[in-house]
């Protein structure tokens, strides 16, 4: 690439007084003054949340109310700021979802650490952890900023499930083998 040297033109007298430029500037700022406002008055007006927005990470249930998380701890592993802490546990055999075998006993996300990167959502093999619409988290203490399992399910609610893998598994188990 060749270098093109541009001659700087000498300033005219009017330019050297700055006055036309200042008047031009005043014109510009005046235009902005009378223009409609750009900002949003937050608590009353809310921004439209686009689809696939990465808000607060939440845990979701499938349409039958089963908690989708099986505590595989991949999100805990992949979480860059180590905000997720899971205590895995066995689902008792008398439970309706005993065929899933494993579920979280405790599931804590420290929102003081969370960086909303969405890697937990990306890595989740069960589509159980989803970054949803909520974008504002506040609390009076550090403890309040840790979302426990109950709160995570409350925030997450129910999302549609395309696969229903565990339901199919249970059906197969009840049906038994073909022979």
């Amino acid at each position: 690439m060749s270098v093109k040297i541009v001659e700087r033109k000498p300033l005219t007298l009017a330019e050297r007084t700055y006055i036309p430029q200042i008047v031009g500037g005043l014109k510009t700022t005046w235009k902005h003054l009378v223009r409609p406002k750009e900002t949003m008055e937050y608590p009353e007006q809310r921004p439209a949340i686009p689809p696939r927005y990465r808000g607060v990470p939440t845990l979701v249930r499938d349409p039958h109310g089963r908690e989708k998380c099986v505590s595989c701890q991949l999100c805990e592993f992949v979480c860059p700021p180590k905000a997720i802490r899971i205590t895995p546990g066995e689902i008792p055999p008398d439970s309706a979802t005993a065929h899933v075998e494993k579920g979280p006993q405790a599931f804590d996300i420290d929102m003081l650490r969370c960086i909303y990167c969405g890697m937990c959502e990306e890595v989740c093999p069960e589509e159980a952890i989803v970054l949803q619409n909520q974008f504002s988290m506040s609390g009076y203490s550090r403890d309040e900023m840790i979302n426990h399992k109950d709160r995570l399910y409350e925030l997450g609610g129910t999302l549609p499930d395309k696969h229903l893998k565990w339901d199919k598994k249970k059906a197969a188990e009840e049906h038994g083998n073909a022979h």
Binding site: I22, G25, L26, T29, H32, L33, K37, E38, T39, E41
Partner: protein, 388 residues
């Protein structure tokens, strides 16, 4: 009532006048700061402060909401905050001068207000009598003399803070204010050369300047901004520099000096600096209005007396020539011009970036001062030729 006032002892009159100044200037300072925030916001495409509200006023339909959106109650909230927050005294400051500095800032600000006439009324013979707290004959000279004392507050504050940034701010303030005072003073001399015809009694009165701009005829009714545009320009630029407004806010310059001379100040002392700054702005625009924009005359070539005469002719109502109505009208016209001046200050603030310090000095000494001297010579010769 007016008679009752004039029968009072002069000392009580003076006290009442002083109280009036304080009661007007302090809220005006607050309103100016709010106006500044609002204008900043509008220019930046924001609505600006619009949250604070007093419950009872909020219950008034439309008006309550309108005042809230205007941000008027933030003035009270800010003032209350400044009064009641802890007034911390940093360690290592020179305590006496540190506390003295904001007081010194207030004194010239409040004193000069008294010498500025702000309106007029017509007496029984149709003569225009100016309204002012102290109608001193040396007028403008008094304004310049007292207001230039304001620089001491900045120097004191900068030095007493015992801290680098305030010190630099103080040094810049002293140099800048003194530099621009020269051009400012030189720029207004032609005005008074023109007013004071040879042989007559000389005056520096601001009211007289307005009176001169109210004369009938083309040359008489013309505002001085048309007759002496260069003077007006130099005066305006110097005014920006004298009041430490952008693009000349070297003493404060947040970007490089944190807060300049008031870095170490907080709470009410800081508030005093700000009221003083806004008071300077008000006085500055007032003086500019009086000198170059025809004072309380509504339009060029249309004096206040003409306006009243026409109104009286159209309506024929007696109250139109009542001194109270005329006084209020003139104050309204004058204040309108002053408010536009203050708005212009704020408008420029968001238009022009801050100069570098060496640019400030170069502009002051190498551009404005020669221009002011040349301007003075041209007008002196011109006036001499015309009046010969």
């Amino acid at each position: 009532m007016v008679d009752f006032y004039f029968q009072l002892h002069p000392v009580i009159q003076a006290v009442l006048k002083g109280l009036a100044v304080i009661l007007v200037i302090f809220p005006l300072g607050g309103i100016c700061s709010m106006a500044e925030r609002k204008v900043s916001a509008w220019i930046q495409g924001r609505p600006g402060p619009n949250r604070a509200i007093v419950p009872w006023i909020a219950w008034i339909p439309f008006v309550g909401t309108f005042l809230q959106r205007l941000g008027l109650f933030h003035v009270m909230a800010d003032g209350g905050k400044m009064l009641f927050k802890e007034d911390a005294l940093p360690g290592g400051v020179n305590k006496f001068y540190f506390i003295l500095a904001p007081i010194v800032a207030m004194i010239p600000a409040l004193t000069t207000v008294t010498t500025v006439p702000f309106g007029a009324y017509l007496d029984g013979h149709g003569a225009v009598i100016p309204l002012g707290l102290a109608n001193v004959d040396i007028g403008l000279l008094a304004v310049f003399a007292v207001s230039s004392l304001g620089v001491y507050s900045l120097i004191l504050a900068g030095w007493a803070s015992n801290s680098k940034y305030p010190f630099l701010g103080g040094v810049r303030a002293s140099a800048q204010l003194i530099s621009y005072e020269l051009s400012m003073t030189l720029s207004v001399i032609p005005v008074f050369l023109w007013i004071n015809a040879p042989g007559t009694e000389g005056t520096m009165s601001l009211a007289k300047t307005v009176e001169f701009q109210s004369q009938p005829g083309f040359w008489g009714g013309a505002w001085f901004i048309f007759i002496m545009p260069v003077s007006a320009f130099i005066f305006l630029v110097s005014l920006f520099a004298e009041t430490n407004r952008q693009p000349f806010d070297m003493p404060e310059s947040e970007a490089d000096l944190v807060g300049g001379f008031h870095t170490e100040y907080g709470a009410f002392k800081w508030g005093l600096f700000f009221v003083a700054e806004y008071a300077h702005m008000i006085i500055g625009s007032g003086v500019f209005t009086l000198l170059f924009l025809g004072g309380w005359n509504p339009l060029p070539w249309i004096s206040l007396a003409d306006l009243i005469g026409w109104l009286n002719g159209i309506t024929g109502a007696a109250w139109i020539i009542h001194p109270l109505f005329v006084g209020l009208l003139s104050i309204g016209i004058f204040l309108g011009k002053v408010v536009f001046g203050i708005f212009f200050f704020m408008w420029v603030r968001w238009t022009v970036p801050r100069f570098r310090y060496d640019q400030v000095m170069e502009l002051g000494w190498k551009k404005l001062l020669p221009l002011a001297i040349a301007n003075l010579l041209v007008y002196a010769i011109g006036i001499a030729v015309i009046t010969k």
